[in-house]
Symmetry: C2
Subunit: 342 residues, 2 copies
């Protein structure tokens, strides 16, 4: 039997631990997998683009486990009552190729993206950061704020979105966690004086959510909303004055903010910083950008985490996803067919 | 909610219809999708190879539906009590990217592979065929025989496998369906006088299961066991004297029997025959080979079929795979968290 953790299963796991403890537990899984980044089989993720949006499969594996995520990105979905991004995925054992876990990943993607931003902020934000700004108040915003607070201690949050209702939602959701939330009138106002800025807008366009004049010395930017060809959030001039960190360079050159730059634009892969192979922030005045597009290893990490924490809880349901005849060569015996002779 | 059809669900669908009717219903789905082959988005399938075997993701989509299959191929699995091939997959609606069906596909892969061979035999075998040979008596054998009988009427079956128990299994499983089954002492004996030959062995090696001297004028061969780099079944000399039909040329040149041949070795894509764009069998003496490696459109077809036939049966179970908050921008509201303020 394969374990299934649906939306209700993730809710129960979060309820059992608390949302902050769930994130606290996840961040070291992401960090451990970043630290051993080179041991993963990194293959291209096939994407199917249509006028509606994109559907992607994101596989990653090490010597023991194989994970993949099915994820869509449909920018016009919210106006039609659907999520922009939904996802589910599975974990399998490499030695026999059998799946062991199928899970919803809409919530888990928000969690792993937050855990990754939180890890990036730990390595790249100024240690004396006190204010964060969230540009975009959609599905990911609260997860991002909670994650970043875990690794940086930053509790003061400025929010800007073109949708005032979405800003109110973030305030409503985060004030119970003790955040000091201020709603801004513009991205520039939200950013003024902020130390850590996260852009998580969902336009399928080369939008300039941030312009270079909004960026001050010492800022760290998590740019997570620009994540496919033709979809960016930052004025390219920001990239020129920043040190840019990425997940997996070949993918980010196609999907990230640096798609606006030549192929030799210098970047550092974040795993190298985590593994102690490259410097993260090197001065208080430096501007750092984590040009995040989402990488399959982060999905691997969160599936591995859920698989570990769900054991013994009774939260996972069994689903009969693997046909297992007594004789492996007799698959046909599983079918209800005329009685065998003799 | 997403519909889930597990192993038990497929059993119940087959029980409701009978295994032959289930195949009879499936073949036109595969054929219809072959006939509109050009309308599919055909992307590479990412494969993760290890010393144990391979895990692949196989996506395919048209303007309305997106399908993918997770499938492993682990040649040493049967000796360890596992299936060589297990699979599961999902179907999603393109307009919003939401999954609508998750299904086991170990059984469904055997069914769709049989339906494809059956369709190939319909177009490529001699109409006066009376004997089929099955080289390899593993998991797929019974499905192949039943499928091919559906489209050709051939009821006389010769079976050869290096494993005598596996041959007995095929006889035991197929005699209740009225097959006239003869167990052969060698591949050559099984093939002698046969009109339609299917090779479905599972060695992960460049095996020569069939040599050129076993092949007579007028034979049609379904070569389905050679399906990844380094894994072939046919003496390349057989290919020289045959007209070779494939699924998707770029994939087959890497994974099929023709990996033993130069990149300009002439082939015809089977969909062109189905669509009336190319000739199938053109003479009674011609040797035809369907060099089948399995293509994602066939998985699309079987998922589409299951999705259609399961409606209204009560067989599918609901699984909560898609997070659907009332406000699409308020994913966080799904979590059990401190009560919002005000």
């Amino acid at each position: 039997m394969v374990q299934f953790v649906g939306v209700d299963g993730v809710r129960k796991l979060v309820a059992a631990q608390g949302v902050e403890a769930f994130l606290t537990g996840l961040i070291p899984y992401v960090e451990a997998d970043y630290a051993r980044w080179e041991r993963f089989d990194k293959v291209a993720r096939p994407a199917s683009h249509t006028p509606f949006g994109v559907i992607e499969l994101m596989p990653a594996s090490d010597a023991e486990l194989y994970a993949f995520k099915f994820v869509n990105g449909h920018p016009f979905n919210p106006a039609r009552g659907f999520q922009t991004v939904t996802a589910f995925g599975a974990l399998a054992t490499v030695h026999n190729g059998y799946p062991v876990l199928v899970s919803e990943m809409t919530l888990l993607t928000a969690f792993r993206t937050a855990a990754t931003s939180a890890m990036a902020a730990k390595y790249l934000a100024r240690p004396d950061s006190v204010v964060m700004a969230m540009i975009g108040a959609g599905s990911q915003a609260e997860f991002q704020a909670l994650g970043i607070r875990q690794t940086t201690g930053v509790n003061r949050l400025r929010v800007y979105d073109t949708d005032a209702r979405a800003m109110d939602k973030v305030r409503r959701n985060l004030e119970p966690f003790g955040f000091d939330v201020i709603l801004a009138d513009s991205a520039a106002q939200a950013m003024s004086g902020a130390d850590i800025i996260t852009t998580c807008t969902a336009d399928k366009a080369n939008a300039t959510v941030l312009t270079a004049d909004m960026v001050s010395a010492g800022m760290h930017l998590n740019a997570i909303g620009g994540d496919c060809p033709g979809k960016t959030e930052l004025d390219p001039a920001i990239l020129d004055r920043a040190d840019v960190f990425v997940e997996f360079t070949p993918q980010t050159r196609i999907e990230g903010e640096i798609q606006q730059k030549p192929d030799d634009f210098p970047v550092t892969e974040l795993w190298q910083v985590v593994a102690g192979r490259a410097a993260g922030r090197s001065s208080a005045a430096q501007v750092t950008v984590f040009d995040s597009v989402g990488f399959a290893i982060e999905d691997f990490s969160v599936l591995r985490y859920v698989y570990d924490v769900v054991q013994g809880t009774g939260i996972a349901r069994d689903i009969d996803l693997v046909a297992a005849p007594d004789d492996p060569k007799d698959l046909f015996s599983l079918l209800p067919v005329p009685a065998p002779v003799g």
